[in-house]
Symmetry: C2
Subunit: 344 residues, 2 copies
């Protein structure tokens, strides 16, 4: 990212995009094009909704925390009617509830269902394959937030029949924030063609047209794309399956380690636990703020507080991206020492 400026219409930059676009398809496990936006993941969420939905359309938002709730907020902001199907924090969205709601929609008023794969505000991993299947059986479009699952947990865009999936550069891709990605199915593309106001900056048709010629419609964040190019090479060398396995192993190490320290997991069942972040209840008498402060000051390790209603009630250990066994071991050892210090 430190190299001098290069023209985004230059032949040099075109060869970068010729590598980046297919490599993104490999990460999403799709033969469909993957759009690249200069925007954060929230921008890609708006890009997902505004390109297939018209004002007044009914959207079902399957929520389990702050980030899945954002789908609902974006839907309302663009004028859709949004119905939420929520579970309490720390619980996963189960297909049974979704299937029951969709079964009531006999006149197919629900046009899209928003889902999240990994909800890092609570540390939940949803059974996204089954949820997408339920949506597909109904006929609505599935819009999936894969921001913190892509590059951490198995994700098969084509095989699972996902309609739209989004992710961001600062998560599994291990580079700074500023880029986001969006894959869309042929079904979603067909719906887009009849969309009344897909806007300009996030417009799929304009972006696809440019990407077919290995360019971008507007000036992109060139230096972040150079970093992305390198990150995708690293990911290809390790291999997606090996990346998923590494995240799974790190996650289990965190969970077992935390339990061995006598702490309680906020998401007790392994099967519903995010492979990007693990939420932990602080022990009695220990404040989350004091625990975070000590970990940072003494060990340079940053863990997150809970968000909104969970603030002070959980702390979250991230293990997404460029994380290896030694990082997990160091974090657990530092947590052990911190708890001893705070209890003393």
């Amino acid at each position: 990212m430190g190299r001098p400026a290069l023209g985004h219409r230059s032949p040099e930059f075109k060869t970068v995009l010729e590598r980046v676009f297919p490599a993104l398809q490999n990460v999403f496990r799709t033969r469909q094009p993957v759009l690249l936006y200069t925007a954060s993941g929230t921008g890609a969420m708006e890009a997902a909704m505004v390109n297939v939905l018209n004002p007044g359309d009914l959207v079902l938002s399957v929520c389990c925390g702050v980030f899945s709730e954002r789908w609902a907020e974006v839907g309302e902001a663009i004028g859709c009617t949004v119905e939420r199907l929520s579970v309490p924090p720390g619980q996963a969205n189960l297909p049974e509830l979704l299937e029951a709601r969709l079964a009531q929609d006999t006149d197919k008023k629900i046009k899209a269902v928003t889902l999240i794969h990994s909800e890092t505000s609570t540390g939940v991993l949803n059974p996204i394959h089954s949820l997408v299947h339920a949506v597909r059986s109904h006929g609505a479009l599935s819009l999936v937030d894969a921001v913190t699952s892509l590059g951490a947990s198995p994700f098969y865009f084509d095989q699972w029949g996902v309609d739209v999936a989004i992710s961001g550069s600062q998560k599994g891709f291990m580079i700074p924030p500023g880029l986001s990605f969006l894959a869309m199915s042929e079904r979603a593309m067909a719906v887009h063609k009849s969309c009344k106001a897909p806007g300009y900056y996030f417009n799929w048709t304009k972006t696809l047209k440019a990407q077919a010629e290995f360019t971008t419609p507007y000036t992109p964040a060139t230096h972040l794309i150079l970093a992305l190019d390198e990150a995708l090479k690293v990911m290809e060398t390790e291999g997606m399956e090996a990346i998923w396995t590494r995240h799974h192993q790190n996650q289990l190490m965190v969970r077992e380690g935390v339990k061995a320290l006598g702490l309680e997991l906020f998401v007790p069942e392994d099967i519903f636990a995010s492979q990007a972040a693990t939420s932990v209840l602080p022990p009695k008498g220990v404040e989350v703020s004091a625990l975070r402060k000590h970990l940072k000051a003494e060990f340079g390790i940053i863990v997150a507080d809970g968000q909104k209603s969970l603030k002070g009630k959980i702390f979250r250990i991230g293990h997404l991206g460029y994380i290896h066994q030694r990082d997990v071991l160091a974090t657990l050892a530092a947590l052990d020492k911190t708890l001893n210090a705070l209890r003393a």
Copy 2:
């Protein structure tokens, strides 16, 4: 930009934003807040329109090239009725034409007028102060593309009564692309409050609310903002007036040098010439493509071709940002040698 990741909600990053937000106001010469978006300049254009306009509103787009035309395209994409007031390429938009059109609009149907300050596709600098004044007298909102004028030519957001102005990180701010900026007047903010569908990602209210607490509503391009922080310090040290003077001197040096080489300027009058880029007609018998190829291969100097209808008809010498006398002298000398080589 090469430093390790830092949390966008960290105290460290907050202190960066505490410097960046007021420094941006200084560049725009405004006391109004300047919004920061992770998006290219085109994203900020959509942010300007979608926050004050509703579908069906009448927009007058004052056009003189590719970038001013983009305002019109964005307006159409968000459902507005767009009327263009255009001049041939190479000519500036004069206040007389605009005043005449606005005078016809006795029932005040025109809600916004889009303008461009520096149109780099042709090399024109519009008399933006007078154009904004004409819009203000009518009562519509003025939306100004200042992407390649901010940090090159005098620009006074508050004093001139501009309603919305946008710019991008990769121009006068001298850092890589990926960030854009938007200033809005109190008048524009009042219109925004009655806007029906201002969207989510570019929503002024959400962005303002976050920026008032020196944060951003969504994950921003943190590393580009670190670069911006440094660039703004460089700009403050040189001083805006000194930056404008340097650009003016470089521009005159380019224009006089090009004429001394026997070439014709596409924008003959200095007063209407962009201080970001100078458009030049190739001499008879010399192809623009051959000239560009030779300059790049022999001297590592990149000049731009014309865009769209001007392709092959002009070439453009950029002199925006981190450019000093020696760069201009080197470019003119290389151009001299290139012309001799191609004519031989």
